[in-house]
Each structure stands twice: as C-alpha cells, then as structure tokens.
C-alpha cells in the first residue's frame, strides 16, 4: 500500500456506528523547538523555552519572560500553521495533493488569529485613522482566515473551520475534526491550534495578576501564575482502518471528548464545571475511571487553576486519583493560549507512542490543595494505554479529550451510540434591535451587564428569546442547555483596551475589559449570565455561521444523547462599515426524542447537511436566512434546501423538512 492510496470518498455510516479516528502525524512549532522531536526531548529534559520578551516592551509587566519563538521566519500565525501542517503531513507520510480534496479538511483553534496585525490596525485607529480603515486593516487578520488559507495551500475542499473557545480552542478543533471523521463527513483532517504572543494578551493576564513574576511552577507550593507563550501544533487525524491499511504509524486513537460550561464566572475556574467535563468525557467515551492511566493537565500554574483542577480530578476519580499520574508541560513551553491544548494533545500522543510521561518541571511540594502524583521526578516510563488531555478556557468553557494507545480499544466491544438520532428545531429568535444593550437590560434586569458590547447583547437577547420560544427556561433547565455561537467582535472594546494600553501602559487596562475582548466573549457571557452548563463553543465569524453552528450542535447532541443547544450567528457591524444585516439569528436544536418527551412545538427537522470549501472568498449573508429556511420548511409544503456561501469560501447546504411523524 503506498502512502497516498487514499480511497476517494467513503460511505457514510449511521450515527449509531461512528467510525474510529487515529492520529497519524504531528507537527509542532514551539518555543522549545520546531518539530515533534525537539519538542519532546525538551519536555522530557525539562528544558525551558521561556526567555526575555523581545517583540514588545515589558515595562510595567510583572515578568519579562514568555515562550517567544525567536525565529527563524516571521512570528505570524499563518506561517506557524503552514509550517506545523507541513511537518504533520510529512510525519504522517502523506502528500496533500494526492489526497481526495473533498474528503480532507482543516479545523484550527485560536484566541486571536493574527494579533500583531490587529494591534497595528488598532494603533493606527488610535492615532487618528477612520473606523472603516480599522475594519479593513484588521479584517485579513480575523481568525477565520487561517484555516481557509491552509486549505487553499493544500488544495483541500473538506470541512473548514476556526474555533475560538479561548485557551481550550485547540481541543475544540480536535473534537470538531474527530466528529467529522467519525460521522463520515471527512476521511482526514489537519487539526490543531495556534496563537502568537502579543502585548494585548500579556498585559491582560498581567492585569489579572495571573502572570508569574519568575517561573511557571504548576501545582507547586507558592506558585504565582502562568507565563504567556506562542506556538502551533497540527495533528493529522485519519479514519483508523484507512491508517492501518496503508501501514501508517498510529500515535493514538482518539476515543472522544467531553465538554461542559462552568456557567459561573468569566475568568475564575469552577470545580463543578471542570468535574462535569471529566465525567462527560468518561461517559461519552465509555471509559471507567480505572481505565485512565495519565492526565495531561491544563496546569497553568495559577493558584486557582491548579487547585480547582486537582480537586476536580479528586472528585471524579475518588480513591484512584492519587494513583493517576498528572503532569503539566506549561512550565517548559508556557501557556500558548489557543495552541496550548493542541501542543498538549501532541505531547499526549508522544506519551502513548513512547510509553513515557513528560514531567512537571519547577515543582516544589507542599501545597495542601495539590495532592496528586504530578510526575515531578523526571520522565517516567509508565506505558500508558488511556490518556485524558484537559483544556479549560475563559468563559468556563471546558473540553477534555481522551486518547488511547493504538490497539487498546480493539479488545473491547465496539461502542455503539444506539439508534441514530434525529434533530429538530424547536425555537427561533431574530434580534436586530438598533439598541441591543437596552434590549438586554430590559430582558435581563437582574444581571450584571458591565462590558457587554453589541455582539454580546445580541447573543444574550437572542439566546434568551430563542429558549423562550422553545419553551425552555434556562434558570430551571440550564444543566441540559448549551450554546454554539458563530460570532465576530465589533472591535469597540478592543479599541478602548488598546487605547488604554498605548496611553497608560499595562497598568492602564481595565481588568474586567480583558475577557470581553476575547473572540468567545459573546458565547461566554451568554452562558454565564443565562446559566448554560452543557456546552460553550465559539466559531470564528464566518458569515453565515449559523449553519456551521447548527452542524456542530447536531454532532454534539449525537454523542451526548440529549439536551438542547442554542445555535446560530451574531454579528454587529463595526462603525464605518457595512455588511450583512446585523443582529443575532439563533435557533434551538434538540433531539426529536427530547423534544417529544417535553411536548415541544417542532418547527422543522434537520434532515442533513453538507459542507465543502473552496469557493471564492467574500461570500457572506446574515444567519437570518437560515431562520427563513426553517420557517419555510415548517410550513410543510416541501422540504427546503438552504445553501449558504461563507465569508472565507466555505459552502454549507442544510436540508430541512417539516416533522410530520
């Protein structure tokens, strides 16, 4: 079998028998080296890649250290993505142009896309540029441009997405790619995360007092915080039987993932939320607590994260917790934001392949809240079979992935999800009020709406109205409700934040404003304020994004067998620009069985959807067209096929029909 004999197309199987997914290639660009070998040897040797920042002034910051990559080549997210993807494909023994283009896709995660370009555009605006210029200059740096650029480079036309769930974004991308292959929508996905170190982020974490002045020392007595970093990891995910048939090296099988939303606080981690993500992962992957041999910790080194993560592991694993090795690589590579969980997934794959656990560096024992086995003596030969990799983000958005050594699951019964689910739409809301903040205030008079910008206000009002339309009260049923939101910030908070940073330095930025400039702020504030605990997932504004969000929601509900998700898009036109009609267009999707069990009114059934990439850039309509299609389908005259051409060149086709049986 040659390396590139990839069968063209594959038969889509029912949702009750998901296909298995292998990791067959790793690409890493990090502050401890380029390529998986340098990365892995640095982790095992505890050789830190943290150094004095050179790319921006550090005056007024708690630390001068960061995981900054000193070259060669530009410090640019696109350059890192292309480099890591090429490494990963070469590592997998694949030639991208020889792969069936329509079956090969890209899923990436990031917090900020190309922040250096965004900062430059914001600086010109502060110095007198026009609002329209700001948008035009910042536009090419928007996160959604990155997976599109990679797919164009590789000539791939399969699913294409950028997920922006902050510091768990890499894990969200891996989970998305896993679902695409498991459910037969792609055979191969390049998936990972990327972020570039920048003054904006560093100053924000600094202002939250989350940056360590000296070293990052996860789980240690007296630990002071995290050290910001940058990098990129891309993993090649491939349908398992195909990987085996071509004799590929299989680093790991992805067993699945679990998710949750704290729905409590925008920045502080929550024990209950983290524990629910771990429990959800075990349940959805059919794992027993006794199956887990190692946990790759989120382990940022902040007092709150490490205490909360430890307590959650203790709660979920009980008496077994002290016997499960847990380690954090962030003391060595720093916290690379949207790339962090992708780097950690790569490390987890290498741990499974080599049988060696990477240690937690800089460890000082004695913290009474950190009582686990943190692998502090150095690399440990442990031969793990099943590994969990944790990712927790601002907005209380948690996603844990489970990986196993190749072959581990062969001996176990194939896991079935039961009969294929059917999905129905039970709530709709279109919000285009010219003053969404006032509307949100009217709808949520008891909630803290500080630093709620227009996209956030649209999301909040729209989610609440869609849930009301579906007959769901988040105050009572929030445990079973989540959100998947495609959103694009209007840059107003970002501009104000940047002005403070330029004029007053890092001490001038407002602590509460920092989480509000993240791309996942609209979904996160909605989840926190409405108490949505099932899922908090953000997609980079792709116009339309409602269709991608709907597809993600159906995949999630398939795996989780229940619950309801608010899905759709939100968009607020930046000052001085025009575009699609602004506002929120949201719908509530749930399983047919779930809707029936509560006698919900059903607008339409989601019969199916297709997605491909490769149209010209520049599409984009408001997500309200999806709502129009749902309404047309609900009239029952004929099934409706809704087609939407996205901003970056994606095309989604959603088939909707009245639900009559």
């Amino acid at each position: 079998m040659t390396a590139n004999a990839f069968p063209d197309g594959c038969q889509r199987l029912g949702a009750n028998a998901p296909r298995r997914v292998a990791v067959t290639g790793l690409g890493v660009v990090s502050c401890v080296g380029r390529g998986k070998d340098d990365f892995w040897s640095a982790l095992l040797a505890r050789r830190s890649g943290l150094s004095a920042v050179e790319s921006f002034p550090t005056e007024g910051l708690r630390s001068r250290l960061a995981g900054e990559i000193k070259g060669p080549g530009p410090r640019q997210a696109l350059a890192y993505v292309l480099e890591a993807a090429r490494q990963a494909l070469a590592d997998a023994g694949l030639e991208p142009s020889a792969l069936p283009a329509a079956r090969s896709g890209v899923a990436l995660g990031t917090t900020q896309g190309e922040p250096i370009l965004t900062e430059a555009a914001l600086t010109r605006r502060v110095q007198g540029g026009s609002p329209g210029d700001l948008f035009r200059e910042a536009f090419p740096s928007f996160p959604g441009s990155l997976p599109a650029a990679l797919a164009r480079e590789l000539g791939w036309r399969g699913p294409n997405i950028m997920l922006t769930s902050a510091c768990a974004a890499g894990n969200f991308a891996l989970a998305y790619a896993f679902e695409k292959i498991a459910r037969g929508r792609a055979d191969l996905m390049a998936a990972g995360g990327v972020d570039i170190l920048n003054r904006t982020n560093y100053a924000g974490f600094n202002r939250l007092q989350a940056v360590a002045p000296q070293a990052c020392a996860p789980f240690s007595l007296g630990r002071k915080g995290m050290i910001p970093a940058e990098g990129c990891a891309v993993l090649i995910l491939e349908e398992l039987s195909h990987a085996r048939s071509r004799g590929a090296r299989v680093y790991a099988e992805i067993l699945g993932y679990g998710a949750s939303c704290d729905a409590r606080h925008v920045t502080a981690p929550d024990l209950d939320g983290v524990a629910r993500a771990l429990e959800d992962c075990l349940r959805c992957c059919g794992l027993a607590a006794s199956d887990v041999d190692y946990i790759s910790a989120h382990g940022t080194g902040t007092p709150a994260n490490d205490r909360t993560e430890t307590a959650a592991i203790q709660r979920v694993f009980g008496e077994r917790a002290p016997r499960i090795p847990v380690s954090s690589i962030k003391a060595v590579v720093g916290h690379a934001m949207g790339a962090a969980t992708a780097l950690e997934a790569a490390a987890s794959c290498l741990a499974l392949e080599t049988g060696v656990l990477p240690p937690t560096a800089n460890f000082t024992p004695g913290d009474p809240d950190c009582g686990l086995d943190y692998v502090t003596e150095g690399p440990r030969r442990a031969g793990p079979q099943v590994v969990l990799s944790n990712g927790f983000a601002f907005g209380g958005s948690n996603l844990v992935i489970a990986l196993a050594k190749d072959g581990w699951r062969d001996a176990r019964l194939p896991r079935s999800e039961g009969p294929a689910e059917r999905f129905v739409i039970t709530g709709l809301a279109r919000v285009d009020d010219p003053d969404p903040a006032a509307l949100a205030e009217t709808l949520l008079p008891d909630k803290d709406l500080r630093f709620v910008d227009r996209p956030m206000a649209y999301a909040l009002a729209g989610a609440l109205l869609a849930l009301q339309d579906a007959g769901l009260d988040p105050a009572r049923a929030g445990d079973r409700i989540g959100i998947v939101l495609d959103s694009s910030g209007e840059l107003e908070h970002h501009l104000e934040y940047h002005r403070s940073l330029l004029e007053d330095g890092p001490a001038g930025v407002e602590p509460l404003m920092f989480p509000a400039i993240f791309a996942n702020a609209a979904a996160s504030r909605t989840a926190v304020l409405l108490g949505l605990k099932l899922l908090n997932e953000s997609i980079a504004g792709s116009f339309p994004g409602g269709e991608s969000a709907l597809a993600c929601a159906c995949d999630f509900l398939s795996r989780h067998r229940g619950g309801a998700l608010v899905a759709g898009g939100v968009w607020a036109a930046p000052a001085g620009t025009s575009g699609p009609p602004e506002g929120a267009a949201l719908l509530v999707v749930e399983t047919l069985a779930g809707a029936r069990s509560r006698n919900a009114r059903i607008y339409a059934e989601v019969v199916g959807w297709g997605e491909r990439f490769g149209l010209p850039q520049g599409g984009g309509v408001g997500a309200e067209t999806l709502l129009d299609a749902v309404r047309a389908a609900s009239s029952g005259r004929a099934p409706v096929v809704h087609e939407a051409h996205g901003l970056w060149g994606g095309l989604m086709t959603v088939s909707l029909a009245a639900c009559n049986d």
């Binding site: 708690r62 202002r207 939250l208 007092q209 606080h265 925008v266 920045t267 502080a268 008079p445 008891d446 909630k447 803290d448 709406l449 500080r450 001490a507 001038g508 407002e510 602590p511 509460l512």
Partner: protein, 92 residues
C-alpha cells in the same frame, strides 16, 4: 482630580462610591450604608476578586496613582483599600 492632601475620610467616601457603583452595576440589593468598616466585600457583599481588581483599577485611574501588585491582593475591606490608596498617594 485627586485632592493634594486628602483626609482618609475623603478617600473612604470616594472608595465607598466606587464600591457602591460596582454593586449597582452587579444589580446587587446592597445599599451604600452596607459598605462599612469590618464588612467583607467577598463574603458579605458578594463581590468577587475580579470585581475588586476592577475597583482598585477604577481608583487608580481616578486618583492617578498605582498600587503595586503585591499590595493589590487580598484587599477585602473598605479600610484596607483606603489604606493602600493613602500609602501610594501621589506626592505632588
């Protein structure tokens, strides 16, 4: 503008206003008179540590001073915030 030689009562009055403003924006039921010496902002008034960082940031901007990070921690009472502000009052 920050007064050049403020009395502690004057600082206290303004800090209470800053705290009360945050409570109002948080839609809290607490009143101005609930903010008094010996009351814990976190335990008694439901203010979290991020809110407190935001309040001290507002005070820093209002008074044009800077509280070092190591002193901007565990500030949980009106009196402790007033004390650290007075200590770092700009010398004009």
């Amino acid at each position: 503008m920050a007064p050049e030689h403020p009395e502690p009562q004057e600082i206290s009055r303004i800090v209470r206003e800053v705290i009360f403003d945050a409570l109002q924006k948080k839609k809290s039921r607490f009143k101005l008179e609930d903010i008094k010496e010996g009351v814990s902002l976190t335990r008694d008034l439901g203010i979290d540590s991020l809110d407190i960082l935001q309040m001290t940031a507002v005070c820093e901007k209002r008074f044009k001073l800077r509280i070092p990070d190591d002193e901007n921690q565990n500030l949980d009472e009106l009196g402790s915030i007033v004390k650290v502000l007075a200590k770092h009052w700009p010398k004009t």
